[in-house]
Amino acid sequence: MWRFLGTRIAMGAFTIWITTILVTLLIHAVPGDPVQIMYAQSQGTTPEQIEEVRRSLGLDRPIPVQYVMYMERLLQGDLGATIRGGQPVLEVILQRLPNTLLLAIAAMFIAIVIGVPIGFLAAYREGTLTDIALMIVAIAGISMPHFWLGLMLLFIFALELGWLPVSGNGWLNLVLPALTLGLSNAAIFARLTRSSMIDVMSQDYVQTAFAKGLPKALVLRRHVLRAGLLPVVTMMGLQFAFMMGGAIVVENIFSWNGVGRMAVEAIFQRDYPIIQGFILTFSVVVVCVAIGIDALYAVLDPRIRRS
């Protein structure tokens, strides 16, 4: 089990290391002069000032030197300063990251609480009208763009019925964004749970358990549910990454003050230090969550736990 986790942690560290390289190269991939582009929107910047910025960002040095400089600063927790306002990027990100994580976790909770029981029910009633109806709902859910679902929920619950606030950052404000992100992912969980449960139910040991006359509820709980939920747990890591990505759009609909909204603003303003910091933070979060899920999986699956 420790070997399994060790490999995962090493892979994760490698991914983050590659990200730091890509993030350094990113600014050089910009067509044209990045410093000119960054300052194109602010009037009255003199060529001297532009040279000054170029030096302070280290852009006048060879790329490998720049990378070493970037890493030195990074290891001291310095992600640079924003172009507009000159705030420390790390501070700007850490202010908003909890909001994004909160949104993603709430959405994950909604997705699992709705998706897994639906999938289980569909598998249990496989081939019946219930199953078909549930799966039609699921595929419709997967096909619905979450930004549209968000707009519709906003229209119905905030504007027409006035039950919930349109935007802001309180607890009530979390309901609609989390629902938007959670519902579209619930459909994915429902489909996955269904196919996994059906797979487990056709296994010999489950058939044996039924055949020897164990009560249906007992077989389902003890044999089917435990084994059938393993792929769902694996899927959670990947889904969390999807949700972090989906949060970018959803945060913009509901003006939720998270890192996704910050990133989109930064792209419009060409604030590259923020974009670099965002990409790095995003991959660190996704990698850490993936390792956490792998650890959970290792504990749950006896085949790995005892290896």
């Binding site: 991914t15 990113l26 419709a140 619905m144 707009l151 229209f155 991959s283």
Partner: protein, 288 residues
């Protein structure tokens, strides 16, 4: 999945179509996709108005009457804009999936065929890119290239490569370990023959299913970017962009929001259903 073998080649085609049409999801999906292609091809003839002509009959006209789906904030006919939008949407899906599919398949097949260090480098870098997630790759690309529809499509296409490469690699690996493959190596088949005659046709069924489902993912992703303002720019009648514009008139003209959303959802649903149908009719295991 890749157990579709040689005997099942082109001669099985009519049977395949019958199987596809006999599954409800395949038939509905195919109908939706064909309808979309029809709209995209004949948008000029089907559209009652010029989609970018402003003030054709007043602003914010509700659906019904002379304007089937109403008019927008500039008095443009929504029905005509949606029709022309189908052309853009299908093109986005085709180009983005084309990028992911060609590069992804090349990487996957080369990795499975060459093995050794080539395989190690290709597949480990694919793993790293895969863990970045498609959204982050697409967003980084747009951040570097700047917001435009063309860049959004490239970004979505590139972002899909790791997934296609992985799937193709897995399918190709199964083929290379089969007796017939080893037999043709012993018989002296060259790399070109092995890849083009043996590997390619056998990974193709899997990849067709993946690509069909991938069109929906690509359309959703590109519409999402346009919705954020990072993709299509005005006055394009791209559906995601139209949705973004509707936010300002959400109370006054809710149809501006509902119609493009339904258009995207139906399109994505069509490709999802078709993909599901293709999977069951191409996969001999599920076919039973």
């Amino acid at each position: 999945m890749s157990a579709l073998t040689h005997q099942d080649g082109p001669r099985a085609a009519p049977g395949f179509l019958r199987r596809l049409l006999s599954s409800p999801s395949g038939a509905i999906g195919l109908a939706i996709v064909l309808l979309l292609i029809f709209c995209a091809l004949f948008a000029e003839m089907l559209a009652p108005y010029n989609p970018s002509k402003m003030g054709a009959g007043g602003r914010f006209l509700p659906p019904g009457g002379k304007h089937l789906l109403g008019t927008d904030e500039f008095g443009r006919d929504m029905f005509s804009r949606i029709l022309f939008g189908s052309r853009i949407t299908l093109l986005i899906g085709a180009v983005a999936v084309g990028i992911s599919l060609t590069i992804g398949m090349a990487v996957g097949m080369i990795a499975a065929f060459r093995r050794g260090w080539v395989e190690a480098i290709l597949m480990r870098s694919t793993d790293v890119l895969f863990s970045f997630t498609e959204t982050l790759i697409a967003l980084s690309f747009v951040a570097v290239l700047g917001p435009s529809l063309q860049n959004a499509v490239i970004a979505v296409g590139v972002a899909g490569i790791p997934f296609y490469a992985r799937t193709c690699y897995a399918a190709a690996l199964v083929e290379t370990s089969k007796p017939y493959f080893e037999a043709s190596i012993s018989a002296g088949a060259g790399p070109a023959r092995l890849v083009l005659v043996h590997l390619l046709p056998n990974v193709l069924p899997t990849m067709i299913v993946v690509a069909t489902l991938g069109v929906s993912t690509a359309i959703l992703a590109a519409a999402g970017l346009s919705f954020l303002g990072l993709g299509a720019q005005p006055p394009t009648s791209e559906w995601g962009y139209m949705l973004a514009g509707s936010r300002d008139y959400i109370n006054r003209a809710p149809w501006l929001m509902t119609i493009p959303g339904i258009a995207i959802a139906v399109t994505v649903l069509g490709f999802n259903l078709l993909g599901d149908g293709l999977r069951t009719s191409l996969d001999p295991v599920e076919r039973k």
